[in-house]
């Protein structure tokens, strides 16, 4: 309505000027009295109001369309009336929308192809990895341990690439089931045994064995692996432990706490550890920080519906807490 009125201001001004002009001409010519002039003015104003009303009603949706800001792509259609202005606006918006959609579609297609390529490539790389893995399996001693360590790093790097690429298509790629938390944690720590042994750090697991959580095994394993890798990397003294503590909070929510006795995170860095590519003070001191680990942890937990938080004290260690959305005590 407002827009309509603003739009019609020039017309109203011209109309008033014309009215005054014509009245003046007649008055100065001495033809008519005041009442006749007023009557003529009233009649013609009624005509104007009628015209404006008609214009407004026939173009109402057009103006409404112009005044509302679309919040999503689906609302971007044109006005529904059939006045010439509305029709042409509808046409314009429609063709713009199509162009935009085509463009968007081609980019989405490219992105999907790219993800597909990354997937294929990473899986392809796993074959040479398995070959090296098998070749050194029966060997012991310095060069082979070193090759084994590098192999582990490669494996982890490939997994990070794979999971980062998959994050966008998460919806097609997860399989939720009820899992026993203790079994899951034990199998993940066992997979990382080389890392634990090499650094002389040992896991201590204390998890209520009745806890079952609803989650995706692969994604949660990846999350735990990231947290464990961090815990071990930032623990410099040998003989320390990484504690896994699983318990039920009030409101029946299961919590998994992973606490290390490492160097801790400076308070200034703490709020930003979940940001992508953020490495902080520790990242600059220690090698191999990509800043992606905790970012992925946060993203994946978000998608799985788990809450993740971190607290740390410099020199004492870091604790990562995962709170599961719903959990069950399995019947004994």
């Amino acid at each position: 309505m407002k827009l309509f009125l603003r739009e019609q201001i020039p017309l109203i001004v011209v109309y008033l000027a014309q009215l005054i002009l014509i009245t003046l001409v007649y008055r100065l010519d001495g033809g008519s009295g005041v009442s006749v002039s007023l009557y003529a003015a009233l009649l013609s104003t009624c005509l104007l109001l009628g015209y404006l009303a008609y214009r407004y009603i026939s173009n109402r949706t057009f103006y409404e369309r112009l005044e509302t800001v679309p919040t999503s792509l689906d609302e971007a259609g044109g006005p529904s009336q059939d006045s010439p202005l509305a029709v042409s606006l509808r046409g314009l918006l429609g063709s713009q929308f199509r162009l935009y959609k085509n463009d968007l579609h081609s980019y989405r297609h490219k992105l999907e192809e790219h993800i597909h390529f990354i997937n294929q490539w990473v899986h392809g790389m796993k074959t040479p990895l398995s070959v090296i893995h098998l070749m050194i399996q029966d060997k012991d001693g310095p060069p082979f341990t070193a090759i084994g360590d590098e192999l582990d790093r490669l494996k982890k790097g490939l997994d990070t690439v794979l999971y980062t690429a998959r994050l966008d298509t998460f919806e097609h790629d997860f399989y939720v089931e009820r899992l026993d938390l203790e079994t899951l944690v034990r199998s993940v720590t066992s997979e990382q045994k080389r890392l634990f042994i090499r650094n002389r750090i040992f896991p201590t697991i204390k998890i209520d064995e009745r806890i079952a959580v609803t989650t995706d095994e692969k994604w949660l394993s990846f999350v735990l692996t990231q947290i464990i890798t961090n815990a071990i990397r930032y623990t410099t003294e040998v003989g320390k432990h990484v504690y896994f503590h699983g318990y039920i909070q009030e409101e029946k929510r299961a919590v998994l706490e992973i606490r290390d006795e490492g160097v801790g995170i400076p308070a200034g860095d703490l709020p930003r550890v979940f940001d992508p590519y953020f490495t902080g003070v520790n990242g600059r001191i220690f090698q191999e920080s990509t800043g992606m680990g905790l970012y992925l942890v946060k993203q994946i937990c978000g998608k799985l519906g788990h809450e993740v938080s971190i607290c740390s004290e410099e020199g004492k260690g870091t604790t990562v807490r995962i709170v599961f959305r719903e959990s069950y005590l399995t019947k004994m």
Binding site: T145, K193, F202
Partner: protein
């Protein structure tokens, strides 16, 4: 003797698998023409198939269905794809089990054995039981028994694992890291002290067979089994 058919396009992996399987007394054959997998399967008539998913021409699922059309022998998938959905798909196409790359020999072996047992009976052709012999001392890995001449001593699982590793490399040093890795399992985490305890126990078992200083500690490196008890094999 069991026959195992390997359908995998990576030569290196095939060679390693074949070497390892030959050690356990299996006969193997690998596919060389990926357009005629089915014909090669029929002429070889294997007891078990190891099948990769990504293959030239047709994928593993396709060949799995083809083989299922003519045989019920166990089929094990070997694939880099670790997703649940990939595994479900393999099982739906007729596979019996799934091994994810990269894998350990032990895991592949355990799965192969269990499939063969299931398909052909418990002790069918049990010619692949593993015993290790070093200078007259024999370790039966399956039954957890250590024998020397007439003398015989029972071992725990962990003790057997330690001896297995030491005897395989008798005469050379086995690092502590490697022993820790071998005896670490899901249920029990072993730290340095636990390993010391186990090594002491192994020494006691050896002493029961009148072997006193066969198992030596190499400071800062690990342990070494020296066959110095003078029996000839």
């Amino acid at each position: 003797m069991f026959k195992i058919f390997i359908i995998e396009d990576d030569r290196g992996l095939v060679a390693l698998l074949q070497d390892y399987l030959h050690k356990f007394g299996y006969e193997t054959q690998a596919v060389n023409d990926f357009e005629r997998v089915r014909a090669q399967f029929e002429t070889f008539a294997p007891h078990l198939v190891l099948l990769d998913v990504n293959l030239p021409k047709y994928d593993g699922y396709y060949w799995c269905r083809q083989i299922r059309g003519i045989s019920t022998c166990p089929i094990l998938f070997i694939s880099a794809r670790d997703g649940k959905m990939d595994q479900v798909m393999a099982l739906e196409n007729g596979a019996d089990d799934y091994i994810t790359k990269p894998f350990d020999y032990e895991i592949a072996m355990a799965k192969i054995k269990s499939q063969l047992r299931r398909a052909y009976g418990t002790y069918a052709g049990s010619n692949n039981e593993r015993t290790l012999t070093v200078a007259g001392m024999a370790l039966d890995v399956e039954r957890l028994v250590l024998t020397r001449g007439e003398a015989k001593v029972d071992l725990s699982h962990t003790e057997a694992k330690i001896l297995d590793e030491l005897m395989q490399k008798s005469g050379t040093i086995v690092t502590r890291d490697r022993l820790l890795e071998k005896i670490w399992d899901d249920q029990a985490f072993v730290d340095e002290n636990t390993l010391n305890v186990y090594v002491t126990r192994v020494r006691k078992k050896l002493a029961a067979l009148e072997i006193t200083d066969g198992l030596q500690t190499v400071r800062g490196q690990g342990y070494r089994l020296i066959p110095n008890w003078g029996d000839e094999d």
